[in-house]
Symmetry: C2
Subunit: 333 residues, 2 copies
Amino acid sequence: MSELRQDPTTKEWVIIATERRKRPSDFLHQEATAEKPSSVSSCPFCPGNENMTPDKILSFPDSDTGPWRVRVIGNKFPAVAPNGDTARQVEQGCFLKMNGVGVHEVVVESPRHNMTLALMNDSQVTEVLLAHQQRYNVLAQLPYIKSLIIYKNHGRNAGTTLDHPHSQIVGTAIVPRHMRTQYEVAISYYDDHGSCLYSDLTERELEAGTRIVMESNGFVVFHPFASRRPFETWIMPRAQQDSFGEASEEDIQHLACVLRTTLLKLYRALDNPDFNLVISSAPIGEERADFYQWNLRIIPRITQPAGFEVGSGIYINPALPEETAKFMRDLQI
Amino acid sequence: MSELRQDPTTKEWVIIATERRKRPSDFLHQEATAEKPSSVSSCPFCPGNENMTPDKILSFPDSDTGPWRVRVIGNKFPAVAPNGDTARQVEQGCFLKMNGVGVHEVVVESPRHNMTLALMNDSQVTEVLLAHQQRYNVLAQLPYIKSLIIYKNHGRNAGTTLDHPHSQIVGTAIVPRHMRTQYEVAISYYDDHGSCLYSDLTERELEAGTRIVMESNGFVVFHPFASRRPFETWIMPRAQQDSFGEASEEDIQHLACVLRTTLLKLYRALDNPDFNLVISSAPIGEERADFYQWNLRIIPRITQPAGFEVGSGIYINPALPEETAKFMRDLQI
């Protein structure tokens, strides 16, 4: 029979549906992926088309004219923008609204149109993550920014509209309810146990061992106990750091190596699956606490949530995380 | 600039992204929909193939041999099943789990393989909703059922795997966290105002008028203030009923008419879009309260949530609900 499991970080239940159980290899990418060119004349992120995008904010190397390896720019169609006040307005007594204040930047991860994180070398992935972190630390200083989300959409099913490898940073003037809930759960755990839920969870995952994909230089990669989707992957630092901004350059180098290896395994195991990648960090101005731990998650978009998920918030996962983790752990790349 | 709006029922913010704004007609179904046959020999839900499914639980008319118009059966691959105890077990001090106890039924909405709710007549839609309600009221008596979700997946992007028109009922032995949060918000509102959040919200929507699609016989159809997705539609009864089980047969007839009209408008406006439909009702055993209101929601699956939504829980909606509601309101069918 199927099993219900609760995510200790959100208190949300997940149904691990063994009746519909699929083997790890059943999740192979179904659509044929056409070979992509290394450069596209109409792509705004390809070298030579820098005038098609807003001005450069940061690049590696830091030059305005020469070639670049990583380039950060403003999003041409930002979801939020850095002006307007953040006062809440109430309409008709029950409709709360505010200006869409915030920042929205794009990190172009490579000059090569058909490159992808999984196939880069460690130093290139390190530069991408360092660009994320540098912008994180600059944007966190803006007085109106209360939360920063770093994310990546890879493939159409993951919501991307531009093929050229890129990730995004959005800063909002509110703390998302989702993050607030995770914070409340972590605080309550800290009050009860005097320790960090995320650290304890990671240690328990290491003890169990069955859901571990790899462990290396202070980072643990696992398929969480209550995975909402097949091959959902968490990368958790063992150092106690609630903000992504606190990670040292050495931490970032180690993360880059672990991330690239994990993504390459996914690339090989599932034939370049569509996925989202998210770096979660403490709400801005609420850091320096002992109960939260920044982390990175990879969510393959190989199944489609349906009406039950939309209506109840409970995900039905047709894969056992113990099986998918073992599959990934054993995979030679 | 874009606008942030808060859903009063969940306290979740939504970004209404005017920079990326699309007109209502931009959301037309892009994929060509092939003409489907009225019957398929391999379809387990087509008449003549009744032996391919679990036994009939209910049918209209109620006969085991003759033709049927609506037929309820068990799900052959249930996400949850009616046996096992509901005791929570704790593994390693932090992993909470329990047996996948519950019920999972399928409502075959028509004998015709290529029929769809939008194109049925009112009496057929009424029978579908009456089947939902009859099963709801029977399943709500089971001692281990704490929540019942009625939902429908229409189209591949909405997570369906079988084309034959059908909906599903899942009963779980837990109250989804999502529902618990909505209940907590509604209770807090009731404590503050002495009235039902959902009723007040519906009256405010009627006052504003700009997001109303239609109003008829005690049901109000609107695109909510903080719509997460383009053309998200709520159908709210004006009667104060916290459980779907309480609706009278006359209420169900009126709902059927309003639902069919709404779905037909969507069918015409967006060329048969993929969508989920969900009926939300009070947690079982917590009914007869004044603060909740059962309701029906239609969520077109015409945009793909990306990493930002996955990471933050904040949806970016590229459509203004005032514009989409006007478009639907003015549409002649």
